[in-house]
């Protein structure tokens, strides 16, 4: 009885834009200058928004906030690749791409300020609400992708999660379903190195997260997640595969969380300043800025204008947040069911009376 090889595969890593701003022209996706400039602007807007949100929390004007600083390319690159009809299924650190997909910034802030109205996205915004339990959203993305296929839609579901979430059983079940049913789903793992205090090496002995795809019979690819062109190119390929009915893809975007897990966390307790400094050198925004400058598409004056514009936009979102009427206590009951049962009616009335007195 011979021993034979029954399965062999390789996992590719895609890098296009080096930290010094130089691109591999052979791999460079077809983007015009306006698109590239818009990518840069979007990444800067994300960062300004994110840094401001952290400040708001520190000032007591908002609840716990999960910073995305450092992960802008992973979100902006995916957003640019998605079509208008595609669906986003976020975890909880995806405010960058949520806003790019049409979720108003002030609603994102409202959510983290503790207001359910923050998840009442406008009609037509194809984005599922934030999912907090970790990993449980992957299955929604798989089911959504199956549903889009069953109903003959061209749209694709793009589901996000982190490196820690790949340890959850949900990740396994979702990828398994997606593979079996060739779901129109793209799974994007933002591997930012840390799940609160546990490093990527503490989540899995697997050499890459991308290779986990192989066990489900679906393609997996690793990209430099701080390289917006690589993220964009890999996402385009995955979306095309899904749209053609050829099933799901797992993309591992290797990036780094420059901030704390949330504003309630102190990353200094578990990781070194040297590690963070090394990743700052690989900052996705600096990198794209270098590329733009080298191409003569960017200069300090434009940077200043962008900073001003971004600050103004963020202020407008904070104003919109703070202009929201206080939530109605009766809303606790009002949206539990399509029709309110008698026991909730009673409980709602007693609360309304209590609040009024």
């Amino acid at each position: 009885m011979p021993r034979t090889t029954v399965f062999e595969s390789v996992i590719e890593r895609l890098e296009i834009l080096a930290p010094d701003g130089v691109v591999d022209e052979g791999l460079m996706p077809g983007l015009n200058d306006d698109q590239v400039l818009e990518l840069y602007r979007n990444m800067v807007r994300m960062r300004v928004f994110d840094e401001k949100a952290v400040k708001l929390q520190r000032q007591g004007r908002m609840g716990t906030w999960p910073p995305l600083k450092g992960q802008e390319a992973a979100q902006a690159g995916v957003a640019l690749a998605m079509s208008d009809d595609d669906w986003l299924v976020p975890a909880f650190r995806e405010h960058g791409i949520m806003i790019l997909r049409g979720v108003p910034g002030h609603l994102v802030l409202a959510y983290w300020a503790g207001d359910e109205r923050g998840s009442a996205f406008p009609d037509g915004v194809r984005c599922f609400p934030i999912a907090v339990p970790v990993g449980s959203q992957f299955g929604h993305g798989a089911g959504l992708g199956m549903s889009l296929g069953l109903r003959g839609e061209q749209a694709v579901a793009v589901t996000f999660g982190g490196d820690g979430a790949t340890s959850e059983g949900d990740f396994h079940e979702a990828l398994n379903f997606a593979g079996v049913f060739k779901a129109r789903t793209v799974f994007v793992i933002q591997n930012n190195g840390w799940a609160i205090s546990v490093p990527r090496s503490g989540q899995t002995a697997s050499a890459t997260l991308a290779q986990k795809a192989l066990a489900y019979g679906i393609p997996g690819v690793q990209v430099d997640g701080n390289d917006v062109f690589a993220v964009y190119a890999a996402t385009m390929e995955a979306l095309e595969r899904a749209r053609s009915g050829d099933g799901p893809t797992l993309i591992e975007a290797v990036t780094y969380r420059l901030g704390d897990h949330t504003t309630a966390d102190d990353a200094g307790r578990y990781r070194t300043e040297e590690e963070v400094e090394a990743w700052k050198e690989r900052d996705p925004i600096l990198r794209l800025g270098r590329y733009l400058q080298a191409r003569g598409l960017w200069d300090d004056a434009r940077e200043e204008m962008l900073a001003e514009e971004a600050a103004k936009w963020v202020s407008s979102q904070i104003e919109a947040l703070e202009a929201m009427t206080p939530p109605d206590p009766a809303d606790i009951f009002r949206y539990m069911y399509a029709e309110m049962p008698a026991n909730l009616e009673e409980q709602m009335r007693s609360l309304i009376e209590e609040v009024a007195s």
Partner: protein
Amino acid sequence: MTAQRANPSEDGEGGLRAVPTTSTAKLTIAQAVRDGLAAEMARDERVIVMGEDVGVDGGVFRATDGLIERFGPQRVIDTPLAEDGIVATAIGMAMSGLRPIAEIQFMGFVYPALNQIFAHAARMRVRTRGRFHVPMVIRMPFGGGIHAPESHSESYEALFVHTPGIKVVIPSNPHDTKGLLASAIRDEDPVVFLEPKRIYRAFREAVPTDDYTVPLGRAAVPRAGEDVSLISWGAMVRVCLDAAQELAGDGISAEVVDLRTLNPLDRDALLASVVKTGRAVIVHEAPRTAGFGAEIVALINEHALLHLEAPVQRVTGFDTVFPYARLEKHYLPTRERVVKAVRAILDF
């Protein structure tokens, strides 16, 4: 057996026996599930059935028999063996316009899916202020009494009733099964539909071949009485009916209340019966402590205390792990235990 039905709430709105139907078929509960699923799938192409062995095999209890032949593998989906994955994907489908009916093969296997049910399905509408909702049914055979292997006999209805946002429906006969299932599938919110597998094939009843609904949140009174209210759901309704029959031989008139839906609860019907009889015995298979019977006792205390002639009694499973097949008969509430409880409160 055909239970007597003197049910004041079975009016035209429910489309029950008052509605003339051209034809009926004698069906078991399992067949009524199948017919109910088929009727809703024919009526609404958004309805799909998914779960382990629900397609080619027709379900381990044959409750989905023939559906794949009629509706095809796109709408009758044999899934991988993964309860969490079944419910998670069903949620994604429900949020995007389908009406999935997910089967969990036995209630004792639902635990991996509780994260999805509790953390997502139950909360989606309220946490998005109505932007999203999850019109989904999760069917689960539940309860003991069929000499099944370990983890096949549990009754955890109270877990779901204790989870705001989930409706809990439990039929006790073939007619209600089809009608309640139709209501559950048409409902805009997630419904846990618990099927008493002990009586899946215990008896047949005339079930209309046309589609009809039995409304959620409406109890039935399959037997009217004056002296004591026997309150139960699922397979225990028949135990109560048997007990009532025996008690009638001694001149004791027991009313049997079949709650049919635990959430929303038909509190009015429940209390009306207790106010009328002044005595109540609650019968459920699930463990006693923090079982749904405890909630009923509390409701009676809050709303009908002064009508009581005696303390409310509970006849329930024990606060133990459900025993294996050789001992399960000692665990399950019996007619004898119900009769004994009734005699005890009549002597109070």
